[in-house]
Every structure is written in C-alpha cells, then in structure tokens.
Symmetry: C2
Subunit: 799 residues, 2 copies
C-alpha cells in the first residue's frame, strides 16, 4: 500500500529527490515510519487526545507500543501528514543583500515595480480569458460534431431498428476522447488530474505542491479538460480554469519559462515565493472569473483560500485581473458567436438570465429553501462519503497509469450506455419549441414535432443541461425523468470525480442539484396547483443547484457571490446564502468537503484558519521540533555539505548561531538561512578563503539567487572538492538576521496565529537567553486537528 | 489655535482624563509639544527625509532649533500625530488566568461560544436593519410633510405673487430641522458629526476613538441624520448607517450597556477588544448593507478598512449580519409601503432597476467611461481640496458649539435660498408623466400639465433626485438645468460636509456625478443624434455618479461591489471598476481621499497596509521609543502607583522583567502588562501581603477584568494608603508571559508587517540577550509616511 500511496499522490512523478524508483515500496502503512524529520520529543506520533491530562513526556511509549505492533491497524492516509510537501517562503528573506537593494531603490523604482505588477495582472487576465475562450470553443466544436454524428445515426436507426449500433458509436466516440485525455494525464502529468482546486487551495495556503504551476501541467490540463467534456463524462470545465489561471500567473509573473529555457529578462524582481504566491492568487481569481463570469467571486475565492496576505492594493490588482479575464472571454466569445459588442458571455457557464419579475421569491418560501439546503447538505455528504471510499479503493488498487486510463475508459463507456438506456426507455415526450434550437433535441420514438425530454438532460454538454433545467418552460420535464436523471447522474458524477482526467465537479454538482431542485418545484406546484408562486420550477432548480454544490464543496462566501454573479441577479443573494449555509452545516456534521477530503488523503500539511479551539494547553515547547541543526555564522563548508546531503533529515531552514568566545556559554541565535540559499552559495563557491585570494571576484548578488529560483539544484549535483571542504563560509550577509521567534511557553494558538498571519515557513523557538531550542514548521502545526474525540495528532510520514 | 484643535477633534469632550477644562489652551501649534510620551531617542520630532544619510543620533537638535523658535511656522495639523488616541488591544492577553479558562473549557464550550457569536451577528443585523428602517420612514414622513406644505404655499403664491414668503417658509422649516440636529450634535455628542465613516475606519484600523461606539452617540447620530436630511441639507443618510451599525454591534456584543447601567450577564466572554472589534466590523458591514442593499459590498468594506483579522468564519458571520440587515430593512419597508412579500427595498438608497436591455453598454464606450472617470477624479480632488481648506478654517475659527450651530443654520438657509432661486429662474418645463407620482413636482410658472424640471432635482430628497437622474425619460432635463444644478450642488455639498450635523457624503457625491454624467450623455447624444446607443442618458448618469463618488471617497473594491449591488445588475461591473480605478488614480495625484483628509486632520495614528516603500533603511532601533518603563515581576505597589499616576508619560503597556539575583546582569524580559490590568489589580488590592494574611480571599478572576472593561477607572480614583504602598504585587499570573518581540536590527517594514498583521498594541524590542531596549507602539509606526519629498516623519503632539 505504501507504494500505492506514492503512485497516486499529486506529486508522484514530481518527486525531485528521485531517491526512490517507480516501484520501490516506501515506509508507510504497515510499518510505522521512522520519525526522521525534526520531531518533537513529546510523543509526536500518537494521538494525544486521550493523554491530555497526563504528562506527555513520560509513560507513553509503553502504552502505545501495542498499537504500533498491530500490523492489521493500517493507519488511514488521512491520519498521516506527509513530509514530502514543503512550505513556500512567503516571508521575505531580509538579508543584507535584500536590504541593500531595497535601500538603493528610489521612490520611482518602487512605483515602476507597482506598475509592472499591474501589467502582469492585466496579462494574467487576458491570457486566462483566452484560454477559457479556447476551451469553450474547442469543447463546443468537438461536442457539437459528436452529438451531430450520433444524432444522425440515432435518427437513422430509430426507424430501422438496431439502435445498439448507435449506442456503440456513442460509446466508442466517448471512449476515444477520454482515451486521449486519460493518456495525457496518467502518463505525462498526473498532477493535472481532477479539478486542480485542491492543489491550488494548498498552494495558496502556502504548501509547495511539486509541478503544480508548470507549463506542461497547463497544457495537459487544457487539452485534458477538452477531451473529458467532449468525451461526455459527467464533468465540468470550470474547475480546471482555476488551475489554468494559476499556472498562467506563475508563468507570466516570472518573465521566463524554465521548461522552455527562455528568459525574457523581465520581472526579475518577482522571482521569489512571496511575489509569486501573490500573483498565483490573482491567477486563480482570474480563473474563477472566467469560469463563472464572477470577478468578485473570484477575488473572494482567492481570499478565502489563502489570505495570509490580505492587502488592499493586492486585492485591487486581483480584482483587476479578474475583470480583465471575464472581459476578454466575453469579448472574444461574443465575436465568435457573431454578436460583437453584445458582451453576453461573461463566463464559461452561463446560467442564463433570471428576470426578477418572473422568478421573484417570497419571504415565506425561505423555510422551504432552507429545507432544500439541508437536503443538499445530506446528498453532498453522501456524495463525498462515496467518493472518499472510491478514492481509498483507487489508492489501493488503481494506481498504475494504464489501469487509470482503463478505468476512465470504463466510466466513459458506462456513461454512454447508461445515458442511452435512460433515453431509450424514457417516454417523456415534449413539444419542440423555439428554445431548443441550440441544443440537440432527439426525437427518437416521440411523435413528430416532439422530442425526448430525457435526452435534453443526457444528450448535451452539462452546461446546456443546467441551463435547460433553469429556464425551460414549466412542464418541459416530467417528475419521473428528473428523478431518474438525478439518481443516475449522481452516481456517475461521483464515480467520475477522481479519475485520471482533467475535470471539474462544479457543473455535475449543479446539474444534480438543478434536477432534484426542479423536481421539488414541480412537486410543490402539484400540491397547490392554483397558487402562482410555485409556477416556475426554474427558481427551485437554482436553489437545488446551490444546495447540492454547497453540500459537496462547502465553500461559503465566495460560492454565494459566484452563484449570484452567475445568475446576474442580486435578489437571490439571501436565499442562496441561507441555502449554502444550511448545506454546509448539515454536510459538515457528516463528512468534510470534497476538496478537503482529497487534501487530507494526500496528507498535505494544510493550515486552517485557526488553531484547534481546545489546544491552549499545548505550548511551543511541545509542538516544536528539536534538536535543531544550527550553523555557525562562519561555518566550515564540509559541515554544510554534510548536513545538506543528509537525506534522512532533509532540513530546509537552519538557524544561524553565534558562539561566544568564552565557549562554555551556549550559542545565541543570530539569523536563519535556507537550504536554497546555501545551495546557491555552494554553487558559486562563496568561501572566505577564495574571496581573500581572488580580490576581484564578483560579489554574489540577489540576481544569482533569483536566477536559480525556483528550481534550485539538489545538493548532489554540486561538486565540492576535498580542499574546498576545509574552507569556511561566512553566512552573515546572506542569512535573515531577524527571524521571527517565540518563547518556549507560547501557547499553540498564539504560535499558530503568528505563523499563519505572516505565512512563515520556519519559526524559531528560543529560551530567555535567546538560545535556539527548537524550530516550528508547518508540519508541527498542521499535525494537530480537532477530531471527533477532541484534539488529535497526525502521524508524520515520508511519503 | 491649540484650543481650537481640541474643540473640533472627534474626542473633544470624550477626553476621559478630564485634566483640562473646556477652555484651557493645550500645547499645540505655536509651542512645540514636549515629547512627553515614550519617544525615540533619535530625533523623533523632525522630518527625517533630509537626514537619511546622517547619523540620526547626533547634531540634529542644533540644526532644528531655529525652526522650533519660529512661531510663525505653525505646523499644520496633518503634520502632527496625536498622542491622545490609544490602540485597541487586539492581541489576546494570554496570561495564566486566560489560559486556565481556555484549558478548562470543553469542546462543547467553544461550540456554544461560536453559536453565540452567530446569534449576536443575527441581532446586529436585525437591529441595524430596524434602525435603517426607522430613519427611512422618519425622513420620508418629515420631508414629505415639509415639501407638501411648501408646495402648497408656493402654488398659492405663484398666482398671487409674493413668492418670497414661500422662500422664507422653506428656509425657516429647513433651519428648524437643522437647528435641532445641530444642537444635539454640537452640544451633546460632537463625535456624532459627519458621516462617521472616518471614525469607524480608525476603529477598525485599531485606534480607540473615544466615545465612538456609545449608545448616546447612536441616539444623536440617528436623530441628527433625520434632522439633517429633513432639513434639506445636501447630505445623505447612508454614511451614518455604517456608524450606527458599528455602535449597535459594540453594544449588543457586550451583553450590557454601561451608559444605562444594565448588565444582562450575557456574552461576558466577548468583553475584550479582540472580540469587540470583530463584532464592530460585522456591524459596519451590516450598516453598509442596509444603506445600499449591498451585503457583499458591506463585507468587503469591513475587510478593506480593517482586516488585520481576515478569517473565514468571521467573514462568513459578517456576511450573515449583512444579509440579515438588508433583509430586515427590506421586509419592514415592504410592509410599510403596503407591499409585503415584494422585497424591493433592499437598501436606503434604491438606484432603481437598470434593465440590461435598455442600458447595455458597448465595449467601444469604455474609453468614454474612462474619460468620465478622469473627470470624476479631477472634480473629486477639487471637492476634497476645497473641503480641506474649509476644515482648516473651521478648526481655526468655528470651534465653539454655538458657532457651529449657527454655521449649520446658515448653510440650511443658503441651501433653501439657492435652491429656490435656481427653481425660480429656471424655465425648463417638462410634461408631467405618470413616473412623478411619488415626487413633488412643482408647476410654478410652467403651463398646466407641465412641471419645473429644476425642481425635481432641488425640491426633493437627494435619494429621489438621484433616482430621477438615473431613470427619467431622455429629455426630462435640459443641459442648462443640469449644468447649473451640478455647479450649485457641488459647492453646497462641499460646504455642508464637516458641519456639526450627522450627515453622509455618499448621496451628494452620487447626485453631483449623476447630474454631470447625464449632462455628458445628453451632449453625446446631441453630437450623433441618429445613433441609438447614446439614447439613454441614465447610463451616463450612473457612470458619472460612480466617477464622482470614487473621486471623493477613493474606495476601491468595496465601492465597485456596492455600486454593482445597488444597481442590481452585474453587467456594469467592468465599467464601474474602470471608472473607479481611473478616478482614484487621477484623484490621488492631486489630493487624498476625503476620509483620509479628515483622519489626518485629526492627527489619528492610522496604520496603512504597508510600511512606506522606501523605509527599509530604518530599523526597530530607530523607530522604537526608549527608555522603557519596566516593572519587576514582583513590584512594589508604590512604584506602580507612581508610574501610573505620572500624567506626563501616561504609558499603557509595561514590559515585565526579571532581575537575576546576581545584580550586575541586566534584567530580562519575561512578560508584558497593561495599564488597565494594573488598575484592576490595584482596585482589588491583589497584594502579596494581603494574600498571605487573608487566606480565604477570593482569587482574582478574568471576570473582574471583564467587568471593568471597557471603562477602566483612572488611577486617580483608586485610593492606595501609605501602608499599602509598601506592599508588593506579584504580576506573574496576570502579565502576558509571551509578548511578541523583535530584535533591534529588524527593518521597519518587517516590524510594520508583524504589528499590522497581528493588530498589536505594544511590540517589545529586545537585544540578543533578551533584554528590553525599546517599545514600538502604533505612533512609532504611523509617524512615518511617504510624502512628496520622500519619507517624512510626523510630529507627536499631546492634543
């Protein structure tokens, strides 16, 4: 199973260290991993909920050993915390080089930087909009061709008999598309699977997910999502837009492409994690904006997911990128649809226009909406639970790329078959109206001038089906059609999410919700046939869609705003908010949100907004990792190389200490230096002795660090000769001389607050003599979470 | 002038210390104030821009002394930073008492707290909505009566002649209303003057503005704004709603009223600055929401103004309060208007419905909109500059309450006279249509069946005038009317803002902008009479309104969303954003935003989002105040009383140090204690000796601190006998044992980031032995700002 976990993890082939081959089993599951990183001395591998009253230092190992010995109790993956993921360095490294550069820079220089930030955000918006446009047009073309061919085929065989040939044609076409998409994802870039929202959430949270913002990922994502949607899977193209926007932002803001080995010598100032993460948040917002035509929702999404860094100017820039993105999409799609200047396509999904007159709600409908919210929460929790088990199953048994592709093909074939069967056995015929001209109405066994109503739901891109459910005339669907559709689509969507294809879950959720919401509306209308307020089931479809989506993804403020912007009508603000709130409360009672489940299953050290409420009795002393590997201010090169090469620890930040000459006094903290900085120093051989001998040697500049960013070479690639090992390195100029510190008695919530608010990667714990006694990193904080039985502690694992 | 500054400052009569009588001149202006608070040793009273290259420690006093001697160079108030304003304690005081309480609390306890937070937010929303409803109905009733009486009078005298009697009637009625409002504000609660937005901005920024969230302030504010609007001044009732919401929140969340001396024994946990500030942000959001029907805009407003504390759950609660607020208003107003269930009054200002068909914009109109944005920025800057000079004038000469009331009366009379004159001399007659039934059309000298178009703009509440400008038929106004109206209203509004009445500037700004925007639309249409896209001047009125408002208040994201929500149409998102952005850029080039000007004129130590860009060369050592008054862990009562009684320093936070027994080593930092805590300790006589003698004595609990919050008694009111002065106090249990610290070499931006992100009040600067060498407070950071000539340093003053 260890191997399996490795296989399906987001970074499977992105493991830069390359220490383990494809098939090498890693420590996980049956064997308890050796706590090989800087671990706390206080029983860090156990659940501590039960021990809250006993002294953690004593008597634990004996009690816990039996559990360790039981090989049957394989810890679930979500009870592990992977050590593979590193944090982003959101805290500026304010070393001498940096300060000198900042001090040299004039007021004008800062203003120019600010202007370039705006330019970059504009570019992010434009490119994201263009990508969305490309995806939309490609999907429409391909799906259009596909449905046209099948429709003609079905029409041909409806009379003659032998519709099984049509079914086979449909299934084969679907499989062909999915095959292409699946191969790309499974073999070339597994991180491009799924919607990408969990990955972007993690990135904005401050976790460095390997390969997530690379150009290759973007290409596979874009082509993959076209294939999945054209392949008729129960997926949407909206989630992947968020990921795409983030990749665009990460690329544009760096002014170069490491993959293409092109450096445009632009925006060099922004080549560090702080700036990059800010731009990525703009890109994610632009993606949301293009996907739903919801610029404000995009901004709120970015803020909800990663605001260590709320800042007025930044937010305003994010908003700018979002606006430009939706405008670009709108502009080009309007031209594509032959109505330039009309600007009626602000997003990929278009909910259509909800006129406030026809679908106004009354306040006595609010309790009804709230019940629907609760139902959405329940169904969402069911969806998530099913998907959770499915994902566990996939982690165990479907981990090879070829198996993943085959599963995708199976799903594609089953989707086509089920859809066809449903359409075939449905006898819900409706008169053909003018509103169906842009769809693919199937006549099938209906009379002339009529069409099969089930087919509008299944034989269509999901976006169009949603729109039909929102806006088609009352009576376009009969209740049985809707019920069957909900049921089948629910399971199809649940099966589909987590496949090795690029695909989002927003649209399927909306579709399921819209179907049962409309069903609710129809049933209500049938109880009180005379009351005109139940007249329009489209209103209930909207509420149902919101409830189902909220129940699955559990987003709050941003989702409300996204829905409101997508409907283009602010009057629905209150009901949508209420529905989402109820759905979240009900859903959270049973199961977490879908994205959170997937983040947990990947064992990502995700930091929530606040420390667990009941964690005040923990202090930095218990939480921190110790002992800490420190360097002296002037350190021997050999020592540094040895520490960096030690694969069993793999530390990334090292406190720098200064030894008082009178050597019995312990060393005091004087700075913090990162692995990446040391690697650059070693690469450029910045040794004290060399500096003396070659006086004319160029001084190391920030540029050298920026050039190496973000793919710092591994220590193994740097050759240090035996002579050089005896040299000394002076770290004074390069270390951050003022790292944030906390005393050892600081409570966990206080440590957490500091860490989270400033987006730190390392927080040094010192005693009252300013001596280093520990180091708090992301894992030390993410380890604690509030389980059903109080505070729990996750295990740390290498995978 | 010193006296004057005192008079008009927000907290004039809120000075709790009561050290100076009403007429006592304070040190300010002609005399340079003694730097009597903990001041930096590094020349803190000078502009340091010029000295950036010299050593700040030396040679400054001699050079600067001549400037000090010059009595003519009165420093402007905005170059001062008042020492009168304290920070809120947003950082939790995690002392032993607190930690014990938190540790005792179960998971269920925290959940109950969370639920009460939601309940409080719901209450805030409901009460804010009800207040908005009350204001709206009262204004409508009173203004309705007034206009009806005057209209009948005018109609009577139009035929007969002698319209001067009507003018006098109008002026007298206006003056009567304004007199009541002015007296309340000027004599009873000066802090209720104006819109209250600057004050709430400061509060959310973390500045404790005295009396700003008291019940009396709320009463005066609500009644005052009814009087001002009914009195026909060029004011709006929207700004004050934000202040009202904030007061409601501060009151409800505490579960008691100190003013009414009622304690409901509820919500005691929330009696501290941290929680209160969070609730106040919800209240401000609820206020915005009720004012504009913009719940999302409200949330964004709160976040833009004070997000040290962005937190998902908090934001969601804020959103809940906003939604409830607008729903309550909507619900009751709908009932009041006789259309229950219609829910068409989400806010106090109703922009009316912008149907997307009739007023769609085309992308080639965007450059045009941007030009209007630039115009708005220019006009806004002009408005702000005029108001700035006017405010300076008022600070100097109009400082007595009776003078302030008289100025308000003068403005009321002039407003009535000017309006009457404009209407009288206007001959813009328009046919009376069905859309005028809810207004007060004046026929005056027009033919029967026609009405005077100028009168719809002047003879109306400003909200209705705005709506008319947005929606009346093309041709309802002729260009001359609009031009004259813009001109007069611009100056009237500018004169009115800053009077001693409760009044907002949003609606006047919108009205001015709508007028010239409509004018632009009409002119454009007249250039190309055949092109139908210019057909509706209402669209241009909207853009003009946004431009003018943006040019005056310079809000960004939140204002965009507020405008979009108020129009109820998301398609205007992009143009409104562009317009606001251009208006801000153009306006900022000339002059700051109106609220910022008023904040600066009050010398509030307001912290912006980031430290000035060019401040990297400053370190904590230069910025901090030193020497610091410290206490020992076990300190003599006499010493504490003496320090607290020292009015010349008036420190609020004291590092607690521990002396090593071997006394030649300096003391090390071990905690931080606040003045308010010491006062409670002294009041309860928590002395070591007493504890020994009376063993049964009740231990001091957090409840004692909470009961004293927020109006801690002054030290003078606590009697400490001579014997007690010899006692000792043990601070260990009460001090915060883990205050945040920074090393002395930390750069200013880094200090700033820590301080701002965590909402600190005191930040201790330590050396590498953990000895206290300085203290950074809000003033030390707010002192530095980026002026036109680089980094400037503000002077500190007692007033």
């Amino acid at each position: 199973m260890a191997n399996i976990t490795k296989k399906v993890s987001w970074s499977s082939r992105g493991d830069d260290s390359g220490l383990t081959g494809e098939g090498t089993p890693l420590l996980n599951g049956t064997e308890i991993p050796k706590p090989s990183r800087q671990l706390s001395g206080s029983g860090s591998v156990f659940r501590i909920g039960r021990f809250s009253t006993v002294d953690l230092e004593d008597d634990i190992t004996s009690e816990e050993d039996p559990i360790r010995g039981r090989p049957k109790e394989i810890p679930h993956n979500e009870k592990l915390l992977s050590l593979k993921y590193e944090s982003l360095d959101y805290d500026n490294i304010e070393n001498q080089l940096f300060l000198e550069e900042e001090r040299r820079m004039s007021h004008m220089g800062f203003r120019c930087l600010e202007i370039s930030r705006w330019v970059i955000c504009g570019l992010i918006g434009i490119l994201t909009g263009l990508i969305a446009c490309f995806i939309d047009i490609m999907v429409e073309k391909l799906a259009g061709c596909k449905y046209q061919v099948i429709k003609e085929n079905i029409e041909k065989f409806t009379e003659v008999g032998g519709l099984s040939i049509s079914l086979i044609l449909w299934a084969v076409l679907n499989c062909a598309f999915v095959l292409v998409g699946g191969i790309m994802v499974a073999f070339f870039e597994p991180i491009a699977a799924g919607s990408g929202i969990p990955q972007i959430k993690c990135y904005l949270n401050g976790v460095k997910i390997p390969r997530v913002v690379r150009l290759k990922t973007l290409l596979v994502k874009v082509l993959g999502v076209i294939c999945s949607v054209a392949g008729g899977l129960a997926v949407g193209k909206e989630g992947p837009m968020i990921h795409s926007g983030a990749v665009v932002a990460a690329g544009v803001s760096q002014g170069r492409s490491t993959s293409l080995k092109r450096d445009f010598k632009m925006f060099e100032y922004f080549r560090r994690d702080t700036e990059k993460r800010d731009f990525v948040s703009a890109g994610a917002a632009a993606g949301v904006s293009a996907a739903f035509g919801a610029p404000v929702g995009g901004v709120l999404f970015s803020l909800e997911e990663g605001a260590s860094f709320w800042n007025q100017m930044l937010t305003w820039r994010i908003f700018f990128a979002s606006m430009i993105s939706t405008f670009t999409l709108n502009f080009f799609l309007s031209i594509y649809h032959g109505k330039p200047g009309d600007l009626s396509n602000p997003g990929l999904i278009n909910f259509g226009r909800f006129e406030s007159d026809s679908v106004a709600y009354y306040y006595y409908e609010l309790p009804l909406f709230m019940c629907m919210g609760a139902l959405g929460g329940l169904l969402g929790a069911l969806f998530n639970a099913l998907n959770y088990w499915l994902t566990i199953f996939r982690i165990r048994y479907v981990h090879r790329p070829c198996l993943q592709v085959m599963e995708a093909l199976l799903v594609a074939a089953v989707t086509a078959t089920v859809s066809f069967t449903m359409i075939y056995f449905s006898n819900d015929c409706q008169p053909l109206g003018p509103e169906h001209n842009e769809e693919y109405p199937l006549q099938l066994f209906c009379a002339d001038g009529e069409y099969n109503s089930m087919a509008t739901a299944f034989f269509n891109t999901p976006e169009r089906s949603v729109r039909s459910l929102f806006h088609n005339q009352p009576g376009s669907y009969n209740p049985l059609t809707l019920g069957l559709f909900t049921l089948t689509y629910f399971f199809l969507a649940c099966w589909t999410y987590g496949l090795a294809v690029s695909a989002g879950v927003f649209i399927p959720s909306l579709l399921i919700g819209a179907a049962w919401g409309r069903l609710c509306g129809i049933l209500l209308a049938s109880f009180t046939p005379t009351n005109p307020i139940w007249a329009d089931p489209g209103k209930y479809a909207l509420i149902g869609a919101a409830a189902q989506l909220g129940g699955i993804v559990r987003m709050t403020l941003s989702l409300t705003v996204i829905m409101v912007e997508a409907t283009g009508n602010v009057t629905y603000g209150l009901p949508i908010m209420l529905v989402l709130m109820i759905a979240k409360i009900v859903g959270d009672y049973f199961e977490e949100g879908l994205y959170d489940i997937h983040i947990k299953l990947q064992s990502v050290p995700f930091l929530h907004w606040e420390a667990p409420a009941t964690s005040h009795w923990l202090t930095a002393r218990e939480v921190m990792s110790s002992p800490v590997t420190c360097f002296n201010r002037i350190e021997k090169v050999g020592t540094i190389v040895d520490v960096l090469s030690n694969t069993s620890t793999n530390h990334n930040g090292f406190p720098v200490v200064v030894q008082v000459l009178d050597s019995d006094e312990p060393a005091k903290l004087c700075g913090l230096i990162l692995r990446s900085q040391l690697i650059v120093l070693l690469k450029h051989k910045v040794f004290v002795e060399l500096a003396r001998s070659r006086l004319s040697q160029r001084k190391l500049q920030l540029k050298d660090f920026r050039d190496a960013y973000p793919r710092f070479p591994p220590i193994q690639s740097i050759h240090v000769s035996q002579d050089e090992r005896e040299c000394m390195m002076d770290l004074t100029e390069f270390m951050n001389p003022t790292p944030y510190t906390v005393p050892q008695d600081t409570s966990l919530p206080r440590v957490f607050k500091l860490f989270r608010a400033l987006g730190l990667r390392h927080l040094v714990v010192v005693d009252d003599e300013n001596r280093v006694i520990g180091l708090v990193t992301r894992k030390d904080l993410a380890r604690y979470h509030l389980g059903k039985h109080g505070l729990e502690e996750l295990q740390l694992a290498q995978t």
